[in-house]
């Protein structure tokens, strides 16, 4: 205990102690993150000469961090890995973005991926849209009936689908189907050295493998969201017609009139960001696979979990931003 701590409560001493440990370890952890990132990027597709140089000088410093208590060392290691992964993901995404502005472009691969992501996801989007639209009516109708305002069902379903449920559920479905597919496909290519073979043949795997997937997903998720919204409204109408005896004109008029330009912009902006997240996370997890077929399995699960969670977190911030802009 330091002299300055005398007279302070146990709780404040604990907080101060934690703060001091954190302050002391932060530079080591941060340095460790950079060193780990340097090692990772030896295999990355970014320039790695500098990274290799950092890694060469890194080794003697590593035991320094592990010399601290085991708990802090473990926490430090976990934190380092996470920060390094975020750094690596960001670098890969930025590099993929840069590829968009210079040839070569792989349009045929992009079309193929659009078919896989877009057309391939249509059946699940339609089934999910119909179900969710119907469920929305079932759940809201009971409430509206209490106030004798069943005509508002169309408004509720429309707003909920277009603003929130359409983009979010579409993103989750596409993530489950395609982020996993991208991670497993690219991961298998990595473990069987096909990605290295591609590099050895003089082709950039980011341009050839990642870019078509990113472009296709960014283009297809908004279109799938539109389909989801429309099918959801159809499902809602069918249930409203059969249970509430709501007429087609009444339902559709209210459903369409309840929407303003802000809702449509919101409903179409979010899927673009979600598509970017799904494709880049899926590709990142696939291209960074380690540990053979077991690693491919892990990458597949990780891709779905991370892309879904990131999409939902992004949804919150985008909603906040778009509501601020359009209200």
């Amino acid at each position: 205990m330091l002299d300055s701590d005398v007279g302070k409560s146990d709780a404040s001493r604990f907080r101060l102690g934690t703060l001091r440990i954190g302050t002391a370890l932060a530079p080591k952890i941060f340095r460790g993150c950079l060193l780990d990132a340097a090692r990772i990027s030896r295999y990355a597709f970014v320039d790695s000469a500098q990274a290799a140089h950092s890694a060469r000088h890194a080794s003697p410093n590593m035991p320094e961090a592990s010399a601290t208590s085991s708990l802090t060392a473990v926490l430090g290691d976990v934190l380092k890995r996470q920060v390094a992964a975020v750094q690596d993901y960001t670098l890969l995404t930025v590099q993929a973005m840069r590829c968009m502005f210079s040839p070569p472009y792989y349009w045929l691969d992009t079309l193929e991926q659009m078919d896989i992501v877009g057309v391939g996801s249509l059946p699940i989007i339609i089934v999910a849209g119909l179900s969710i639209g119907g469920v929305l009516v079932l759940q809201t109708a009971a409430q509206f009936q209490r106030f004798g305002e069943t005509a508002l069902t169309g408004d509720a379903v429309s707003l909920a689908l277009v603003r929130e449920l359409g983009p979010a559920v579409t993103a989750l479905l596409v993530s489950g189907r395609n982020a996993s597919g991208m991670a497993s496909e690219l991961g298998s290519m990595v473990v069987t050295e096909q990605v290295d073979a591609m590099r050895a043949l003089g082709t950039d795997p980011i341009r050839k493998l990642m870019m078509p997937r990113v472009i296709a997903t960014v283009l297809m998720v908004p279109l799938l969201t539109v389909v989801f919204d429309f099918v959801g409204l159809c499902g809602g109408f069918l249930v409203a017609y059969s249970t509430l005896r709501l007429g087609a004109v009444q339902f559709w008029t209210r459903a369409i009139n309840s929407l303003d330009i802000g809702d449509v912009v919101q409903g179409l902006t979010k899927p673009v960001v979600f598509g970017l997240i799904i494709a880049t996370v899926g590709c990142y997890c696939g291209l960074r696979v380690r540990g053979g077929t077991q690693g491919v399995g892990r990458a597949t699960t990780t891709a779905v979990v991370i892309s879904s969670v990131c999409a939902l977190v992004a949804d919150f911030f985008l909603s906040r931003l778009l509501l601020y802009l359009f209200q």
């Binding site: 000469a49 096909q194 073979a197 590099r199 050895a200 082709t203």
Partner: protein, 313 residues
């Protein structure tokens, strides 16, 4: 190790049509490693490796599993970077080159991966033509070149098959065709015979001999089979007859002859191919343990190398 092979179309001799600029003259090094160190976590796999591969030379990297042979191949192709040291290929320092330049540069190098590494979603034809399509070559020319390359490895019948439909040996042959289709002056063979039966291994070595003797390829070959080294050192592909013939010409086959005449060979009694030398470099514990022409390996008194030789008998 004599083997019948289909006659080559002499008008399309690949050696005469190489499109790549070689920044070296015969005898000068096309591949050079200078004091290369590579480590993973706490283990240093390569500890100061230095060697040269001269223009036209075939260098065989011999070593047990885990001695860093594949690592050296990938370093030479610029697929990974060393922790320290320099890797020069055709006068270019690939250890300092950015990935963008490396991608272009790698088109001058053929790489045969250990398991073939064929793209499993593409047909054999698409695999072999991959590099040519990337270079936006004319489709007629591509088809002609692909057929020629597949004919070279005797796989023309498998044009439309997928890698999953091929045996391990066939996949390696397609991989060799893919590496040679663009007529690179340097080819890196990473354990091309690993996991193959002796007959198929011999076929693969024959193809490498053909590449060396007909296409004037400078090669770096990693293997754990000492037979591969002697196969390359003691035989040549005779263009006139279309057969693989022994350099000593006494009719005995490969390693049996070599081992039986170990002492003779060590005394320099064997005919050596002056234009296409084959040298052996043995790796042990991350360092170069032995480096000399293959014949000298036969005459070694070293216990470790003798064990290596004994494993092949």
């Amino acid at each position: 190790m004599t083997r019948d092979v289909p006659p080559l179309d002499s008008s399309r001799n690949v050696a005469n049509t190489s499109r790549h600029e070689i920044q070296s003259v015969p005898g000068e090094a096309l591949i050079s490693l200078h004091d290369v160190h590579v480590g993973f976590e706490d283990r240093e796999v390569l500890q100061g490796i230095s060697f040269d591969v001269a223009h036209g030379e075939t260098k065989v990297l011999l070593g047990e599993t885990g001695t860093g042979k594949t690592l050296i191949m990938k370093l030479a192709a610029g697929l990974i970077q060393p922790d320290s040291g320099r890797v020069l290929v055709m006068g270019h320092d690939v250890s300092e080159m950015p990935e963008k330049e490396l991608l272009h540069f790698r088109r001058s190098i053929g790489f045969v991966f250990q398991e073939g590494a064929l793209f499993d979603s593409m047909t054999v034809s698409d695999n072999v033509s991959f590099r040519l399509r990337e270079e936006a070559m004319d489709e007629t020319e591509i088809e002609e070149r692909v057929r020629e390359a597949l004919r070279f490895v005797e796989m023309e019948h498998a044009l439309e098959k997928f890698p999953a439909d091929l045996s391990g040996g066939m996949r390696r042959r397609v991989s060799i065709a893919r590496a040679l289709v663009d007529r690179p002056p340097v080819v890196l063979y990473d354990s091309p015979t690993a996991g193959l039966d002796p007959v198929t291994s011999q076929t693969i070595i024959t193809l490498i001999l053909r590449g060396r003797d007909l296409q004037d390829v400078t090669a770096l070959l990693a293997t754990h089979r000492v037979q591969d080294a002697f196969g390359l050192a003691n035989f040549r592909f005779d263009k006139a007859s279309g057969h693989v013939v022994a350099l000593a010409g006494n009719g005995k086959s490969g390693l049996a002859q070599s081992l039986a005449e170990r002492e003779e060979a060590a005394d320099g009694g064997r005919e050596r191919n002056p234009t296409q030398p084959t040298n052996v470099l043995v790796l042990r514990d991350g360092k170069i343990y032995f480096e000399a022409p293959a014949d000298e390996l036969l005459g070694t008194k070293d216990e470790y190398l003798k064990k290596f030789l004994a494993s092949a008998e």
